[in-house]
Homo-oligomer: 182 residues x 2
């Protein structure tokens, strides 16, 4: 891919992330307008809206995975785990909007997106295990229910359009449940 | 309304609750078939699918409110609060499917459904306050974040299609966060 084509692709993805993250029902036209490219350029890179949505959601998941992997090197595994949990919940409104747009498009999630989701879950599991070893998360909290809590907190914050201070208080309750009883 | 018309209405609502609770995209035809009435009878009681969905969702919310009010008389406010929380989360998959079908119909939630939702929230707030007075829920958990937790747990359980034992372990983590630290 030539440099200007790569630039265009990156601009389209950034615009699509913003547009669909805010308005799941937005059109490819809206994306082209914000990216400052013609609609034909969008379709050259992403022949269908579904492909564009998948690419954006995959990028989101890959970034979260990368963030988790970065935090996994932290000297303070407890802080790393809770920071990641908070970041996922804070970003959830726009990420879920993209997932919702994809679901509304009636397509099964493609292989790339599934792989990115799997990578994110594994990285979260790594953070959980390290935080447990450090005594910052109770040892009996297994991955499935801890991940369900992450998804639940994300969806709860999104559905109720929580104000940040209510979201933070909800997270404080969840974190107290995850911390070992002294 | 005559007795047979009332019977038909009740059968249609029961069938709709089951059909839409399982398959948000189901048709009014499916409801008529399960109810054992003609499609014309369904439309006589509920001129649009939206009206039928609203009626079913309203009934769900009213039943939850009634259950909360009933539990409010319990001698054990702590057990009452956690039992209600668990019931809402357990029923959430089918209730959310109905809410989703309504959202997909593109209609704003009507006044009756809003009022039923408000009644349910108030009854939950009553259970929370009593459980706090009884020392079964920490005193600093306010209604907004506790309700956000309820919504989050419901949506988390639904989105992840959690198996009952994972759901119960997720709830155990949440309940530990809600209980006063000894």
């Amino acid at each position: 891919m030539r440099a200007d084509a790569r630039d265009n692709r990156a601009r389209i993805m950034t615009a699509a992330d913003e547009v669909f993250g805010r308005t799941p029902g937005a059109s490819t036209d809206d994306v082209a307008r914000l990216a400052g490219v013609g609609i034909a350029t969008v379709f050259r890179h992403f022949p269908t809206k579904t492909e564009l949505l998948e690419a954006v959601l995959t990028l989101r998941l890959e970034r979260l995975r990368d963030r988790a992997l970065e935090l996994a090197d932290s000297d303070d595994p407890g802080t790393a785990f809770y920071a990641f949990f908070t970041q996922v919940v804070s970003e959830s409104a726009s990420k879920l909007a993209i997932a919702e747009a994809l679901a509304a498009a009636g397509t099964a999630i493609g292989a790339d997106t599934q792989k990115a989701g799997q990578g994110m879950r594994e990285a979260f599991d790594g953070l959980l295990t390290r935080a447990q070893r450090a005594g910052a998360v109770r040892a009996d909290a297994q991955f499935p229910e801890t991940y369900a809590l992450l998804i639940g907190a994300s969806r709860g914050a999104t559905a109720a359009a929580l104000e940040p201070h209510v979201r933070d208080r909800m997270l404080a309750l969840i974190y107290d449940g995850l911390k070992p009883r002294s």
